[in-house]
Amino acid sequence: MNEMALLQNYLIVGGLLFAIGLIGFLVRRNMIVMFLCAEMMLQGISLSLVAFGRFHGNLGGQMMVLFIITVAACEAAIALALILMLFQRSQTLDIAFWQNLREEGQPRFVDQQIPEEIEDEREWPQLTPAGVEPELDLEQQRHRTRV
Amino acid sequence: MTAIILEALIKIALLIGGLMTAAAYFVLLERRIAAWIQDRRGPNRVGMPLTKLRLFGLGQPLADGVKFIFKEEYTPAHVNKVLFVAAPILILAAALAAFAVIPFGSMIPPDWFGRTEPIKLVVAPGVDVGMIYVFALSSIAVYGVILGGWASNNKYSFLGGLRSSAQLIAYEVPLGLGILAVVVAAGSLDLEAIIHAQTTQGWCFLLQPLGFLVFVVAAFAEAARLPFDLPECEQELVGGYHTEYSGIKLLLFLVAEFLHMITASFLIVILFMGGWHLPWGLTGDPAAESIGWVPAIVRIVALAVKIIAVIVFFMVVRWSWPRFRFDQLMALAWKVMLPLGVVNFVVMATVEQFGGSLSTGVKMAIGWGTFVLSWVAIAAAGPLIADNRARHDLHPSQIDSQV
C-alpha cells in the first residue's frame, strides 16, 4: 500500500474535521454545541497525529493522542460544571447572554431577526390537575358509555 | 482470506444463534427460579407445539417470543420517532458485538478440510485490546438507555434513563479497577491470554478476592440486576426507560438486558474463575498448541457450567436482596467500591513487582489478608448501610436549602 498516499489522505481528512469544527465553533451559539465543536477540532488533530506517527514508525503520535483524550476529559469536566452554573444563573445556554464579558467599547450584539420555527408546535392533550372535576364537552359525554 | 471470512461468519452465526436461544431459555430459568424461591411452581405448561408433551415448560420461550412479535407495536404520538426506534436497535447491537472478543470455549482440533492449525473458539482471535473493547461497547450501550428514555418523552422514562446513565458511568470505574489487577497479573488485555495466565498462576478469585468482590458488584450494577436495578425499578418508575415500549422493540430491550447479564457472567468466569480451565489436568495441557476432541469438549462444558452457575447466582441474588436507593448506590460506588478497588490494585501491583518469586500460598494469604483487613476497615469507618431515617435533629431548611 502506498504509505505516502495514506498519509496525505489522513491529513486532509483531519484538516477537514478541524475546519468543520472551527466553523461550528464560530457559528453556533449554544454553549454545549460550541464545546462539542471544539472536541471535533481535537479529533481532527488526533487523526493527523496518528497518521504522522504511523508514517514515521514511532508511537509518539499515539502518545500525543492519549494526552489529548486526557485533556479533553478534564476540559469536559470543568466546562460542564461551568456551563451548569451559567445555566442555573441565566436559564439559557445562549452564549450571547454573557456578552457583557466583551471588550471595552465594543457594540452590543442584538439579534436583528429571529426566523420562524420551521416545525409547527403541536398541542398535546393534558390531564386535568388532581382534585378538579374534569370538564367534558357534550359531544364527548354523549359518546361515553355509561357504567 | 475467504476461508478466514467464512470461518468468522460461521462463528458469528453460531454465537448469535446460541446467545439468542440462551437468552430466551435464561428467561425461563429466571422465572422458574423466581417461582421456586417463592414456593411456587413457575411456568411449566407450554411444551412441544401441537402435542400434549409438556417437557417442564421448555416451550415457554417460544411462546413468549411469538407473543412479543404478534403484540401490537405501539408508538406513542409524543415520542421522537427516530431515536425511539434507534435506541433498542443500538442497545442490542452493542450487547451482541461485545461477544466478538469473548471466547466461548478454547479451540477445536484441526480435523476438517486439511487444516493444520486448530480453530479458536472466538470470533476475533488474538485481539490485543479485547478487554477495553468490551468496555467500549458497554459504554455504547448507555446510549440506548439514555436515548430510549429521552425519546419516550415521558417523565418516568426520562428519570429511568438519567439514573441509568449515571449508574452505568459511575460503576465503570470500579469495574475497571477490578479488572486492572487481573490484567497486571496476566500481563495482557487479551481474554484468552488471561485464561492462559490463570492456568499457571491459579484462579484469580482465590488470589485476589477483593478485586473479585469489587468486580462482581460492579458487574451487577452494569448489568442492572436487582440490587442495582435502578434504571427500571418497577415500583418507582413504572418500567424505567422502556415504559413506553411495546412489542418487538420491548423484546429487544429485554434481550439486551439478558445479554448484558450473560456478558457479565462470561467476564466473571474468564477473568476470575479460570475460564475453561479445571484443576487436576482435567482439561488437558493448557500450554499445548493443539488439543484432542475430549479435552476440547471438556473445556467447553466446563466454561458453560461455570457460566450457568454464575447466572443462577445472579438470579438467586435477585430475590435475596432489596434494591438500593439511588444515593446509596452512588455512595457504594464512590465511597466503598472505588477505594477497595484502588487498595486491591496497589497491593496486587506491589506483589507482582516485588514478590514474583513468592509461592502461590503466600500470594493467596496476602490477597485474603487484604480482603479481610480492608473490608473490616471500611465497615468500621463508613458503614456500607446508609441510614434511611430522617435527620430529625436538623430543621428541614438546614437539610435542603430549597425548602
Binding site: 454545549i32 478534564c74 445562549d94 | 467500549a136
Partner: protein, 269 residues
C-alpha cells in the same frame, strides 16, 4: 496517480486551457471540491434558507466527492473504499452535527463522527486508541454532554439554536475554514511523493510491529518509559480538574435571588 492526473493525461495535450497552466489550482478538482463543500456548508448551517439546505446537502456531497477523487490513491481498491467509508462517516456526521438545530442531535451525530474517527484509528494500526476513543470520548464525555443537555435544554427548539451571530460570521467562518483547508490540501499535495525511510523509534520499535500482538506492550513501554513524566502530569491534571469541577459546582450553589443574574446581565447598557 489520481483522477485529475488521469483525466489530464487522457485529455488532449493541446487543451485549450492555457489559463489552466498559469493558474494550476483552478485545474485541480480539490479546489472546486473545497469551494463546493464550503458553499454547501454555508447553505446548511442554521439560520438560513429552508430550501437551501437541500441544495447545500447536494453541494456538500459533490464537494466531498471531488476532493476524494483528487486525493492520491492507495493503489488498492478495497483499502480505498474502506478508508472513504470511514472518513465519509466521520466527515458527514461532523457536518450534520454542526448544522442540525437540536443540540441533542448534535451530540448524537458527534458520537457517530467519533465512531468514524475510531474506525480510522483502527485502520491506522492504533487499535488501542480507537477503542479508547469510543470508551472515553463516546462513552463518557459525550454521554455526560447529553446528560447536561437533557437536563438544561428547554423544551422544543430554542431561538439561539436557530440563529447565528447576525449574517456576518457565517460566510466569514466558512471562508476562513475553506482557505485553511485549501492551503493545507496544497501543502499536503506538494509533499515529496517518495516516502522517507521510517525512522525506527529506539524504544517502541517500528510500525511494522505496531499492529502485532505486542502492540499493547510497545505502547505501554513508550507511555510509561519515555513519557512517564507526562503521564504523571496528565494524572495530576485529571485530579485538579476533578477537584475544580466539584469546587465550581459547590461554590456556584450559593443562594441567590432567582432573577438577579438575568437582570445583572441585561442591564449592562
Amino acid at each position: 496517480m489520481n483522477l485529475a492526473g488521469f483525466l489530464l493525461a487522457e485529455g488532449s495535450e493541446d487543451a485549450a486551457c492555457a489559463w489552466c497552466q498559469s493558474y494550476p489550482c483552478l485545474a485541480s478538482l480539490s479546489c472546486w471540491g473545497i469551494v463546493a463543500g464550503a458553499l454547501g456548508l454555508l447553505l446548511m448551517l442554521p439560520g438560513g434558507w429552508k430550501r437551501g439546505r437541500y441544495l447545500g446537502v447536494l453541494l456538500g456531497c459533490a464537494g466531498l466527492g471531488l476532493l476524494a477523487a483528487d486525493l492520491p490513491w492507495f493503489g488498492d481498491l478495497a483499502h480505498q473504499v474502506f478508508f472513504w467509508l470511514l472518513a465519509g462517516t466521520a466527515l458527514v456526521a461532523a457536518v450534520i452535527a454542526i448544522s442540525v438545530r437540536s443540540p441533542i442531535y448534535t451530540a448524537i451525530w458527534f458520537a457517530i463522527s467519533l465512531l468514524g474517527v475510531a474506525g480510522l484509528f483502527l485502520y491506522q494500526e492504533a487499535p488501542f486508541l480507537g477503542v479508547v476513543t469510543i470508551a472515553v470520548y463516546a462513552g463518557a464525555i459525550v454521554v455526560t454532554f447529553l446528560f447536561v443537555l437533557m437536563l438544561a435544554q428547554p423544551a422544543g427548539h430554542t431561538v439561539y439554536d436557530r440563529v447565528s451571530w447576525g449574517w456576518l460570521p457565517k460566510p466569514f467562518a466558512v471562508i476562513a475554514a475553506a482557505a485553511l483547508t485549501g492551503l493545507m490540501t496544497f501543502a499536503v499535495a506538494s509533499l515529496p511523493s517518495t516516502a522517507p525511510i521510517p525512522t525506527a523509534d529506539p524504544i517502541a520499535g517500528d510500525t511494522a510491529t505496531s499492529g502485532a500482538p505486542d502492540h499493547m506492550a510497545n505502547l505501554g513501554n513508550t507511555l510509561f518509559g519515555t513519557h512517564l513524566v507526562s503521564v504523571e502530569v496528565a494524572g495530576t491534571l485529571l485530579l485538579v480538574a476533578l477537584v475544580g469541577a466539584i469546587a465550581i459546582v459547590i461554590h456556584g450553589k450559593q443562594p441567590q435571588l432567582p432573577n438577579q443574574g438575568v437582570e445583572g446581565a441585561r442591564n449592562d447598557e
